[in-house]
Structures are given as structure tokens and as C-alpha cells.
């Protein structure tokens, strides 16, 4: 009897919640039903496409006969999409490289670990992973940067670009607000020039025009040029994001630091920047996410990032016609990275909240 009663009251609570939240009045009922209808119409076919009608084992011919997703295509091509043209026998190197970067990122999540040591760790493993990929040292086979591809390339380009452009952005933002005319004008000029040009054109310039200006005999690696181009591009955006934070700091903070005798660098490093950078965490992460995805533009100068290898996989004559699978795979990969970035930023904001802006 007792249990029955409890059961009944629980049902009552659920019904009340449904009424309050989903079927409050005719309009809300209508919208609820419409949304449920939409969800059903998307979810069920997707589920069917991916799990019921799909084919996991088989060749392209067999795949073309089924209605659903050709998972066999992904099974066959995942290795190529992720690692691309890197020599087959050496694939452990890019895989290890990816794990190094992921481990570094995960390790750096904890704020208590931030400091000079962590910076050193990043530098050490940055150099280490570079030589791991490149080889020609410690008896590793030399691999041209032209052959670096897929996920490790995307991850390296994006991580290095974002970590290097952040401090550069801070310098540019401070420069733009500097009292020294020359510094200010140079900063403004740089930021406005770079922001006024699309990333694609900067990449093109780095790959096509820049070598023309170099003296004969000097060749700068294409990957390096692209990396620098991306860093230059992101720095300008970071600078503006950070400048927004600087402007939000009340004048009193500057005056209080001044009145205590702190010099310019102490004032900025100890008082102004910690507050300003905290305020702009959301737009900073926003820029980072957008730049992570924009690294896919390097494929137009024939660097083989993840997007490039995915396209390569699609155009394999044996496996024509499975681009939907490839694109969805890409979307899932990109989403995982970007979503975790966003989630981390929200966590950071919470941790840094001291109750008063």
C-alpha cells in the first residue's frame, strides 16, 4: 500500500512538471509537439542510417548496395585521414606526437600547475615532438615536412599558433594603448592591416609571394611559413580581444597601482592583465576555436591537414561517393576538440571568479 502511494505521488510530480514546462498553454503544447516531431524525424533516420542500414565490412561495391552509412569506407580510410602521407612504417611517431600534445593540454588544465615549469615543459615537448616528427636524429628516419599530415599536423598548427599568438596579442594590445606614439602607430597599423585581409590571402602570400622576395638560394620551409602566417593572423585578433579586456578595467586600478609605486611592467603584469585576461576568457576561447577550425585553410597551399587527407580519401577512385561519411567524421573530430575547449573555458571562468569584477 505504502509503495503504491509513493508511486502515485511520483507520477503526479512528473505530470505536474510536464504540464508546467511543456504543456503550459495551447501555444507551448503546440511548440512542444512540433519540436518532438522534428527530433523524431531527425533522430530516427540518422540512427537507421548509421546503425541499422550501414555496412561495416565489405568493399565499395557492397557499400553502394546498402542504404545506410558506409562504415567500411571509414574503417579503410581512418588511418589515412588521421595520418595521411606519413610513411606507413613510422606511423607510431605521429601517433605518439598526438598523444604528447593531448597529454600536455590535459596536464595544463589545472591552474595550480601554471608556472615557469609548465612553460619549460611545453617548450621541451614542443621541440621534442618536432624532432620526433622530423627525424634525422636519434636514428629516426628523416621525414620531410611535406609528408606531415592529418591530425598531428592540424593539432600542431593550431596549438602552436594559439599558444604563440596569445602573448603576441598581449604585446600588441598593450602597444595599441601605449603612450609612445611610434609603438602605438605600429601596433594599430599591424592589427588593422592583418585584420583587413582574409587568412587565405595571407597564406597565399606566405606560400607564393614571400619566396619571391627572398634572396636566391635561401629557402624557408613551407610549413614554417604557413605556421608563421597563421600566428601573425591570430595575433591581430587576439590583440583586439585583449584590448577589450584592458578597456574594461576601471581607471582606479591603474591609479592605485601607480600610487603604490609599481612601475609600468609590474602594474600590467600583477594588476591589470590578470583582471583583463580573465574578463576576456569567453572571446579568447571563441577566437581560439574559430582559429582551430581555420587551420583547415592550409589545404589551399597544399599542406595536408586533416581536411586535406579527408578530401584525399574521398577522391580515391575505388571509394568514390562516400563524402558524406568523410565529412561527418571530420565534423565529429572537430566538434570533440572545439567542444572540450569551450567546456574548459567555462570551468576556468568559474574558478577565477572572486565575487567582484
Amino acid at each position: 500500500m505504502e509503495e503504491n502511494k509513493e508511486e502515485k505521488s511520483r507520477i503526479k510530480i512528473i505530470l505536474k512538471w510536464l504540464k508546467d514546462n511543456l504543456f503550459y498553454n495551447p501555444l507551448s503544447s503546440f511548440i512542444t509537439i512540433l519540436i518532438i516531431y522534428g527530433i523524431i524525424n531527425i533522430l530516427i533516420p540518422s540512427y537507421q542510417w548509421l546503425f541499422v542500414d550501414s555496412l561495416l565490412n565489405g568493399d565499395a561495391e557492397a557499400c553502394r548496395k546498402v542504404e545506410g552509412a558506409c562504415l567500411a569506407f571509414l574503417k579503410e580510410k581512418t588511418r589515412y585521414i588521421l595520418l595521411g602521407m606519413y610513411p606507413q612504417d613510422e606511423h607510431w611517431r605521429p601517433v605518439l606526437n598526438v598523444f604528447i600534445y593531448l597529454a600536455l593540454l590535459v596536464f595544463s588544465r589545472d591552474r595550480s600547475r601554471w608556472g615557469k615549469k609548465l612553460l619549460g615543459l611545453w617548450f621541451f615537448f614542443g621541440v621534442f615532438s618536432f624532432f620526433l616528427m622530423r627525424g634525422g636524429i636519434f636514428g629516426l628516419e628523416f621525414v620531410e615536412t611535406d609528408k606531415w599530415s592529418g591530425l598531428p599536423l592540424t593539432l600542431m598548427l593550431a596549438t602552436v599558433a594559439i599558444t604563440v599568438s596569445y602573448p603576441l596579442g598581449i604585446l600588441l594590445a598593450l602597444g595599441r594603448r601605449s603612450k609612445m606614439g611610434v609603438v602605438r602607430l605600429l601596433s594599430i597599423g599591424y592589427i588593422e592591416l592583418i585584420r583587413g585581409v582574409p587568412l587565405i590571402s595571407i597564406l597565399f602570400m606566405s606560400s607564393v609571394m614571400f619566396p619571391l622576395f627572398l634572396p636566391k638560394g635561401i629557402v624557408i620551409n613551407k610549413l614554417l611559413r604557413a605556421q608563421v602566417a597563421i600566428i601573425m593572423f591570430i595575433s591581430a585578433y587576439m590583440a583586439e580581444v585583449i584590448r577589450g579586456g584592458l578597456q574594461a578595467i576601471p581607471n582606479g586600478q591603474y591609479e592605485a597601482s601607480d600610487s603604490l609605486g609599481l612601475n609600468y611592467f609590474q602594474k600590467m603584469r600583477l594588476v591589470i592583465l590578470p583582471q583583463a585576461l580573465k574578463i576576456v576568457i569567453p572571446p579568447t576561447v571563441n577566437t581560439s576555436i574559430s582559429m582551430f577550425k581555420d587551420t583547415s585553410l592550409v589545404m589551399i597551399i597544399a599542406l595536408q591537414d586533416m581536411m586535406y587527407t579527408a578530401k584525399g580519401a574521398m577522391s580515391d577512385p575505388h571509394w568514390l561517393g562516400f563524402s558524406v561519411e568523410a565529412y561527418i567524421f571530420m565534423a565529429v573530430l572537430y566538434f570533440c576538440f572545439c567542444f572540450s575547449l569551450g567546456k574548459y573555458s567555462r570551468r576556468l571562468e568559474k574558478e577565477l571568479d572572486t565575487g567582484l569584477a
Partner: protein
């Protein structure tokens, strides 16, 4: 007077754009002297005090503080500022740092003190302003009166020779004014050189050696508090006093 001169302002002029905010100001302060500056808003009293540690830049005349003339030389300015404490109307504590960190920041970075000594001094002054139990909190968790007392302690940690107060109680709720004024009175009794912009005439009567009345960027009247309040000479002073002393 036998005490040495610590502040000397000679024919000071300052403009904000075309607005002549300070006009031919002359002021001398000796060590240990307490000076209260009052006057209607816009009279230039805050600007004058802010010129004394070069938060504002003057255009004409000379300002010498602790024997150093305030000019463009950044090193000189920083060393004057390290020896001149300032308390603001809106406290201006650093919201991202704990109370303790607020207090130790400048001693560690400007005075190059080690952390342990700096914290010892910080606790000493926190005790004096009676908020030692709040040391680990953030400014946002304190009341206005507590924040202002922390701000005073923060300045004192630098062992300043002069303290400037720019309307320290104007942004406080009435019931919190007293706790801040008490700290200031204590400080005055210990012989600190103080220049205080305030409308708290009770405070002026109790501790000031001299009261200065300013209007339209000029020093209108200057006297010891006794005669200043009982027998003001100038019409504008009389009007001002009648308005605020009700």
C-alpha cells in the same frame, strides 16, 4: 617651525583643456603636519592632492615632495609614489587578489621584501585596522568600510612618509564612516603627515593643524581649525561652512 619641509608647492597652475583647474597654488607642508582641504565640488581640491603624487600632471610651477621635484623623470616619480600613500574615494582594491595579497603586493615588488616579512607587516597593519580575520577573503566579500580600512592598511604597508586621502569617506554608507575616521584619527595621533580632502568637519576640528578652503581652483582661505570655523574671513568660506555645518 623646526620640522623639515616635506611638500613644497610653488605657483602651481594646471589646466584640463581650457579649464583652469588650479590657479597659482602655493602650499608648504612640514613633517607631521595634518592638513584638511575642503571646498565645493569642482574646486580643484582632489586635483591638487592628485598632483602631489603625479596622478595628475601639472603644467606650470614646481612641486617638491620629500626633496624630489616631480617632473617627467619616471624613476623619480615612482620613488616619490613609493613613499607617498594614497587612499581613494572608491578604495580601488585589487579585486583579483586576496586582502593579504593586496597588502603584500607593493612591498614585495617595489620594496623587494621577501614574502614572509611582507606578510608579517601586512598582518601588523591589518590588526591595526582591525580586520586581520579577513586576510584570506577577496575585496568583493567585504563591506565598504572594511574595504576602505584595507586600502589604508595597504598604503601603510609601504611605510609611507606622507599619506594622501582623497575623500575617503564619501562613498561609504553613513554607519561605516566612523570606523574609517577612527583609523585616520589614530594615524594622525601617531604623527603621520597627512593631507586629507574631506567634508568631515568633525575630523578637521579634531586632528587638523591647518584647514584649507578651496574654490574655483584657488586657495581662498587657510587657517588653524579653531579660527577657521569660529571666525572665517572670506564670504565664500562663510557660505560654504553655513551650508555644510547646518
Amino acid at each position: 617651525m623646526t620640522n623639515p619641509l616635506v611638500i613644497s608647492v610653488k605657483s602651481l597652475d594646471k589646466w584640463f583643456g581650457k579649464f583652469h583647474v588650479l590657479q597659482n597654488i602655493n602650499l608648504e607642508v612640514t613633517q607631521g603636519e595634518k592638513i584638511v582641504i575642503c571646498g565645493p565640488s569642482g574646486s580643484g581640491k582632489s586635483t591638487l592632492v592628485r598632483c602631489l603624487n603625479r596622478l595628475e600632471v601639472h603644467q606650470k610651477g614646481t612641486i617638491v615632495v620629500n626633496g624630489i621635484e616631480l617632473k617627467d623623470n619616471v624613476k623619480n616619480v615612482d620613488s616619490v609614489r613609493a613613499d607617498v600613500g594614497m587612499v581613494f574615494q572608491h578604495f580601488n582594491l585589487f579585486p583579483h587578489l586576496t586582502i593579504l595579497e593586496n597588502l603584500t603586493l607593493a612591498p614585495i615588488w617595489v620594496r623587494k621584501m621577501n614574502r614572509k616579512d611582507a606578510e608579517e607587516i601586512a598582518y601588523h597593519y591589518l590588526e591595526r585596522v582591525q580586520i586581520q580575520e579577513q586576510a584570506m577573503k577577496f575585496p568583493g566579500q567585504l563591506s565598504g568600510g572594511q574595504q576602505q580600512r584595507v586600502a589604508i592598511a595597504r598604503s601603510l604597508c609601504m611605510k609611507p612618509k606622507i599619506m594622501l586621502f582623497d575623500e575617503p569617506t564619501s562613498a561609504l554608507d553613513p554607519e561605516m564612516v566612523k570606523e574609517v575616521l577612527e583609523v585616520m584619527v589614530d594615524l594622525a595621533k601617531e604623527g603621520m603627515t597627512m593631507i586629507v580632502v574631506t567634508h568631515e568637519m568633525g575630523f578637521a576640528k579634531e586632528v587638523a593643524d591647518r584647514v584649507i578652503f578651496m574654490d574655483y581652483g584657488k586657495i581662498i582661505e587657510e587657517n588653524e581649525p579653531g579660527p577657521f570655523f569660529s571666525d572665517p574671513q572670506h564670504d565664500r568660506t562663510k557660505l560654504f561652512l553655513s551650508q555644510i555645518l547646518i
